[in-house]
Amino acid sequence: MTADKRMTADEAVARLADGMTIGIGGWGSRRKPMALVRAVLRAGLTDLTVVSYGGPDVGLLAAAGRIRKLVTAFVSLDSIPLEPHFRAARQRGGLELVELDESMVMWGLTAAAHRLPFLPVRAGLGSDVMTAGPGLRTVVSPYEDGEELVAVPALTLDAALVHLNRADARGNAQYLGPDPYFDDLFCEAAKEAYVSCERLVTTEEFTDEGGPQTLLVQRHCVTGVVEAPGGAHFTSCAPDYDRDEAFQAAYARAAADPAAWREFVARFLSGDEDEYRAAVAATRRATRRREAS
């Protein structure tokens, strides 16, 4: 038998340390490991370098001042194009930004997963990403073409946080939506990976819901498994649930005003994950009552 890697979100995050480089899976406001991010907020982790296709994961951490350096191609809430907390943090000079192209993030993670120092890409040449980060260099092809390309450095992570639809206790994990995003790469690029899931299943149950190609993450690169139903809320987690647009809109509205944001934090982010879910459910009931009357 292989190890039982089940743990709580707080236990997973307790294994991380200030100053770490942490990769966060998902994409924009899609299948983000939000329960793990909320645990990072609770644990008080700070001085982080975050690598992410950014969404509200970056927004929440930036609003709390936990990010020292952000490596990303964008930060967006998808249905709301600009992430308000990230904007505010940048506009007050609150975090260092290393801006890479979307494909460069993928190749940086791939290089790390393959234990290579860099991978050559065309993307970036002529653009200001060459100077936006410290020291992006080029490399010249040793073959007849002699092309000079960008050497994307490996984005090696101390830890990866990802959320998938299903996982077993050993760390195998399955996505059931239309896009795997890059969660397997994040796990393979990291020294330790923590996978939260909507539902913990037995290994035998994987085949009930999807073919073998849906088994995205393998146990040999997973350190901990966290059962977290609703763990991507308020981002989407197809097919289990869609993005909570009303909640996301409230989150973005609250960002505009310090008092409103303090109230949002008090209501949703000051307790544990159970209290978060209870507060979200209470808000939904209140909205339904308002709409009914």
Partner: protein, 250 residues
């Protein structure tokens, strides 16, 4: 026939994909999306389209409606491979665009502490170095069409040339469609020129709305209006809710 400015813009966007063949048309924004679907329904039936997420769609639904038929799977990782293979023509937005076609969607102001943080570079660097790129600017103004962009995300002709053969090899900017005119880079020094003025727009208006000197030849043509068949497709099939009018003022 009464044709709105938005409908002129839809056709101008559609024309950007004419002759592209069997490649992915990637429109960003409402009017380019209507344009790409119009092109596919009329003169460019080979174009591939996505549902905006991970699926290639075989039918052409109205804006905001789901597709019924999926013909392929294109999650982000495969999308990035398709981009580098070059089988794509994107029409991106631009917060700033200069005369050489350098585009900025990342930030206004300096890198350390910008006045306005925008989206980030997204895929603009990989797009502009690998396949045809056009731009859609729904509000032609000197704040968008600027002398110099604050951050080069999409690479223009001068910057590609300076970066060398690996940068110019697959680089090519096709069209800039705005609410006033269609522009392109078909000049000896690869700088913007007006290709056509939309009906009712004067050369003086376009010059005044551009943040750098722009030559408008006296014999510049008018942007073509939609045909009756195109107008019916725009109004009844692709955009029955009139979302185009929210992006372009009449």
């Amino acid at each position: 026939m009464n044709v709105s400015r938005a409908e002129i813009c839809v056709v101008a966007c559609a024309e950007a994909w004419r002759g592209d063949g069997e490649i992915l048309a990637s429109p960003m924004g409402t009017v380019p999306t209507i344009g790409a679907r119009l092109a596919r329904l009329t003169f460019a039936p080979e174009l591939l389209l996505t549902d905006g997420e991970a699926m290639l769609i075989a039918d052409v639904p109205a804006l905001g409606r789901p597709a019924r038929v999926v013909e392929g799977w294109l999650p982000f990782r495969r999308h990035l491979a398709l981009v580098t293979k070059g089988r794509r023509h994107v029409m991106m937005g631009a917060s700033q665009l200069d005369r050489y076609g350098n585009q900025n969607i990342s930030r206004i102001g300096d890198a350390r502490r910008p006045d306005r943080q925008l989206l980030g570079v997204r895929g603009a660097p990989v797009n502009s170095l690998n396949h045809p790129v056009s731009y859609w600017i729904p509000r032609h103004s000197p704040r968008v069409l600027v002398e110099r962009v604050d951050m080069v995300c999409g690479v223009g002709y001068d910057r590609a040339a300076a970066a060398g053969p690996a940068a110019t090899r697959f680089h090519g900017l096709r069209r800039v469609v705005t609410d006033l005119a269609v522009l392109d880079f078909e000049t000896p020094d690869r700088t913007l020129r007006v290709r056509s003025l939309h009906p009712g727009v004067t050369a003086e208006e376009v010059r005044a709305a551009t943040g750098f000197p722009l030559d408008v030849p006296s014999d510049v043509p008018r942007t073509r209006p939609p045909t009756a068949a195109e107008l019916r497709l725009i109004r009844e099939v692709v955009d029955p809710d009139g979302l185009r009018d929210r992006e372009v003022r009449t």
